[in-house]
């Protein structure tokens, strides 16, 4: 039992790491990875929603009627997203402004709904918690990695600290929309090469 819980947790970190292995939740991935700070903030917010919704849905899995399950999941997820929204507005206002529209949009992040449907609705509470935590942490890691590449190249900074000398010319393409697509595509390619070995 203990072993399987660990497995559920670790699969989110490599074997099913979103959004590389599980190609879901691309919109926030592309949009918020302009800087490492935003990437981590978004990752933590999504992880919180993922863990809470997984726990609640797993507790309610025998009560929710099958026909209206998607609607029920969405209500559960939207509730936790509202919680995150209000908490961030109160305690992390600058980050709240930067992430803007993408906080309410966690509701329609396919990762959250996907885990609810594919995992939490079929498993008991503890594995669901482990699954949510693992996938959430994996998502945070991917966002941070992508944000690191984009921020260092596009802005010459890491977590708002300059890494290159003053003579560095920022590679502005990377922090713009096209750079996001190309960068994610190339990282996916690297993951494919690494995964093969």
């Amino acid at each position: 039992m203990a072993k399987t819980v660990v497995q559920e947790f670790t699969k989110g970190l490599w074997a099913e790491i979103p959004p590389f292995r599980l190609v879901l939740g691309l919109c926030p991935t592309l949009a918020v990875t302009k800087s490492v700070e935003n990437g981590i903030g978004m990752g933590v917010a999504t992880t919180f929603v993922l863990v809470c919704s997984n726990i609640l849905i797993s507790l309610l899995r025998n009560v929710i009627p099958k026909k209206v399950r998607i609607a029920c999941y969405i209500v559960v997820i939207a509730t936790f997203v509202t919680v995150v929204e209000l908490v961030m507005q109160a305690y992390a206002y600058p980050l709240f402004l930067k992430l803007g529209i993408f906080i309410p949009l966690i509701v329609v992040n396919c990762i959250v709904l996907g885990r609810a449907e594919a995992f939490a609705s079929k498993n008991s509470v503890v594995p669901s918690l482990a699954d949510g935590l693992g996938i959430g942490l994996g998502f945070t890691l991917s966002l941070t990695a992508l944000a690191m590449v984009r921020e260092v190249l596009g802005n010459g900074t890491f977590y708002n600290i300059p890494v290159f000398g003053p003579s560095f010319q920022p590679f502005a393409f990377m922090v713009q929309a096209p750079g996001a697509f190309v960068c994610l595509g190339l990282m996916l390619c690297i993951m494919n090469i690494l995964g093969k070995k």
Binding site: C27, A31, V81, C110, L113, L188
Partner: protein, 191 residues
């Protein structure tokens, strides 16, 4: 009048929902492998987005604002969209079967298309009037359909090309989307 033309141009091209605002990327990569599915999805989004934009505007103005319930916006909007999609699906199946068979399979997917919820939220944030909301929702949806169809056209060609193994499928798709996004970048100076 000029205001509306500017609004339309900026929503379709300059702030293209897919390539510039990064909304709705899951269907963008998911259904763009064939031209017919891309057209079907594009039509379905235009259809739902205009209705969703109008209804959420009404809900926000007359329900949430009147009772000071703005903090429930996310919850209210997603419920409106989910039930709207369900209604549209049932209505089409009963009354216009021809259209249903064309759009049918794409409709359920729209609930979790972040472009729909995203545009509804943008409309509220920009404090558009009702007419502006209608125009903006329609233009954003047209922009979505346009980008999707263009991308599907490119992707149909990529199948014929010899792509290195690790780059295949989603990976090359994203890089191509980047190039398309770069092309749309040229519109930035227009407005």
């Amino acid at each position: 009048m000029t205001d509306y033309i500017l609004l339309i141009v900026s929503c379709i091209f300059v702030n293209n929902i897919l390539l510039m605002q990064y909304l709705g990327n899951c269907p963008f990569l998911g259904v763009s492998k064939r031209m017919e599915t891309a057209v079907g999805m594009g039509m379905a989004v235009v259809f739902v987005l205009v209705m969703a934009g109008a209804i959420t505007w009404v809900v926000n103005t007359y329900l949430l604002k009147t009772f000071h319930l703005e903090y429930l916006r996310t919850l209210a909007f997603i419920l409106v969209i989910a039930s709207l999609v369900q209604f549209v699906e049932m209505f089409l199946r009963k009354s216009i079967p021809a259209l249903y068979s064309g759009l049918g399979i794409f409709l359920p997917l729209i609930t979790t298309n972040c472009a729909v919820l995203g545009v509804c939220l943008i409309n509220i944030m920009e404090e558009y009037s009702f007419v502006q909301t209608l125009v903006a929702s329609f233009s954003y949806a047209v922009g979505f359909a346009l980008a999707l169809v263009l991308f599907a056209g490119v992707r149909e060609r990529i199948i014929l090309a010899r792509v290195p193994r690790p780059l295949q499928d989603t990976s090359i798709g994203l890089v191509t989307a980047g190039m398309l996004s770069l092309a749309f970048f040229a519109f930035k100076g227009m407005v």
